[in-house]
């Protein structure tokens, strides 16, 4: 187990290195740059631009910039934002709680609802319940998240006026109720797609499991329906479901990015979009690395969880 985790962490390091190379390259290959805006400004001279470029180190070859960035990143110096000049680490890290709040609550909600709906559809397969949930899930999966976000804002914030249209709290009112009302819409929107996926996946896993001999044994023992479905059925489904949770992390991160933008949720996603607009390279790279680290560690956690659930899986080799 320990060796397995060590080996996986080694793999993760290589992966993160790859992500950083590609991210860095794409960022610099993209047309324009942090200073593109100023070239249109008649009061900014060419000398000014050269001076700023030199200040940011942008006049050096890309590979030199990259090596410097890697060295700095590893030694804890994540650089300074091109805009405002603040140190990058606190800019990015202070956004993590908001993003975790949104992703965590959505994930939990989606898990609970998706698994419940999936079991329900599996037990009532080929009935109205099954077809109905399948249709809703397909709808949720085929329409983009931002569309649901805008629809939700239009209906619940604009027309009905029940909930705020965005932000994490009303300025000057940080009460729990206020925060929860702000969380509700983005959480539901982000949870929608995840719930749809979970319900479909749980359904197919459970349909397969419910035909297994050990389910018949559980029923032959006189166990109640909840015990059979959850204690024996869902327990067996945990292995594929936890694996899915790991694989779903990129989707969650991507969905959070869109949702934060639509709802002006002050998390890393919103920061990423504005940094992208500004070509704020140090901030972009930091967010990219934090996001990638989150996905990689999440996957590792999922694999370890699967091994803990299923005694037949041994984590001795990679």
């Amino acid at each position: 187990m320990r060796r397995y985790v060590a080996a996986r962490l080694g793999q993760a390091a290589v992966l993160l290195l790859g992500v950083s190379v590609i991210g860095f390259a794409l960022m610099h290959l993209a047309p324009g740059g942090p200073l593109a805006l100023y070239t249109l400004n008649p009061t900014v001279t060419a000398q000014d631009i050269e001076r700023v470029k030199h200040l940011f180190g942008l006049d050096q070859p890309v590979y030199v910039q990259y090596v410097k960035w890697v060295y700095g990143f590893l030694s804890g110096h994540w650089g300074y934002s091109f805009f405002g000049g603040r140190s990058v680490a606190p800019i990015v890290l202070e956004r993590i709680p908001a993003t975790l709040e949104l992703m965590g609550s959505s994930l939990l909600l989606a898990l609970a609802m998706g698994v419940a709906i999936g079991i329900w559809a599996a037990v009532r397969r080929n009935t109205l319940v099954d077809y109905g949930t399948a249709t809703v899930a397909m709808l949720a999966l085929s329409l983009p998240t931002f569309w649901f976000g805008l629809l939700a804002i239009y209906v619940f914030a604009q027309v009905l006026g029940w909930l705020p249209a965005g932000g994490i709290e009303t300025t000057g009112n940080g009460s729990l109720i206020d925060r929860l009302t702000h969380l509700l819409l983005p959480m539901l929107v982000l949870a929608l797609v995840l719930t749809a996926q979970w319900s479909r996946y749980t359904r197919s896993a459970m349909i397969d499991i419910l035909t297994q001999d050990y389910i018949r044994t559980a029923r032959a023992k006189g166990l109640g329906p909840v015990r059979v479905l959850v204690g024996h059925g869902l327990r067996a489904a945990l292995v594929p479901l936890v694996t899915l949770a790991g694989l779903q992390l990129p989707l969650l991160v991507g969905g959070a990015l869109v949702t934060e933008t639509v709802f002006s949720w002050p998390g890393m996603g919103l920061l990423f979009i504005s940094a992208l607009d500004n070509r704020d390279y140090p901030v972009l790279m930091a967010i990219l690395m934090v996001g990638a680290l989150f996905v990689v560690l999440g996957n590792l956690a999922a694999d370890i969880a699967v091994a803990l659930i299923d005694p037949r899986i041994r984590l001795s080799h990679v």
Binding site: Q212, T217, K221, G222, L223, R235, V239, D310, R312
Partner: protein
Amino acid sequence: MTTLLDVRDLTVRFGQTRAVDGISFTLDEGETLGLVGESGCGKSTAALALMGLLEAARLDGSASFGGRDLLALDEARMRSIRGAELAMIFQDPATALHPLIRVGDQVAEVLRTHLGSNRREATARALDLFRKVGIAAPEVRLRAYPHEMSGGMCQRVMIAAAIACSPRLLLADEPTTALDVTVQAQILGLLRDLSREFGMAMILITHDLGVVAGMTDRVAVMYAGRIVEAAPTGALFAAPAHPYTVGLLGSVPRLDAGWDDDLATIPGSVQTAADASGCRFAPRCARASNACRTEPALIPTGEGRAVACWHPA
């Protein structure tokens, strides 16, 4: 001897197909019955019908078990009987146990469900049961997972779970088919000993007549959803009456060769065709005559025997 189980005209339909077609038999307290017949003749279906474990099937007839009709009870009443008074073990012990739950817990859960035992009591009792069914190092085995045990050991665990609440009747559906020959003998011996010790009645389902010899008091032979012959075990072996039983016993060489090929190809159609034209075994029977176009009933022939054939041996 009092009658424990009285099955009358049990019929199971899956859509149009009749997997079990009007079988009747009785079983006394503590008695052991062998239910024998080739693959697909409806043995498992009959047993699962008694357990109330068939979904999407239409059941007819009655099955009086200790005064209650198993086919008429609601699910909640049935659940309190299942695993407690009426238990079942299955063909493949490796898949019949939950792969992610410790075997000790799988036994203890029966006790907790039916006897309301707490975790500690249930585990202690499970340990006793493991000893009773001959599992070596039971303390260690309680915490094992099915994949860490052999097929024979897994079947012993299944038996331990089945006898946990001292059922009055155990349905054993091909309990040794998936096991090695030597292990088969051990498991059969264990079942026989347990049924004697606890006065537990048993229906031993098998396609192998060899298995019922020395194990059962009586045998019922099934063919295509019907019981074609029933007799005390010794009498059946000494003098089989139905041509199909004769074939099963292997005393007619002619039936050996094309036997399996025939079975593999006919199953679905054999029943509907036979429905129209009488005895279902007639197409494969050397003794078939015009009379066999009428379906023969299971007629008692004395000495506890009965046969459904116009030309019994």
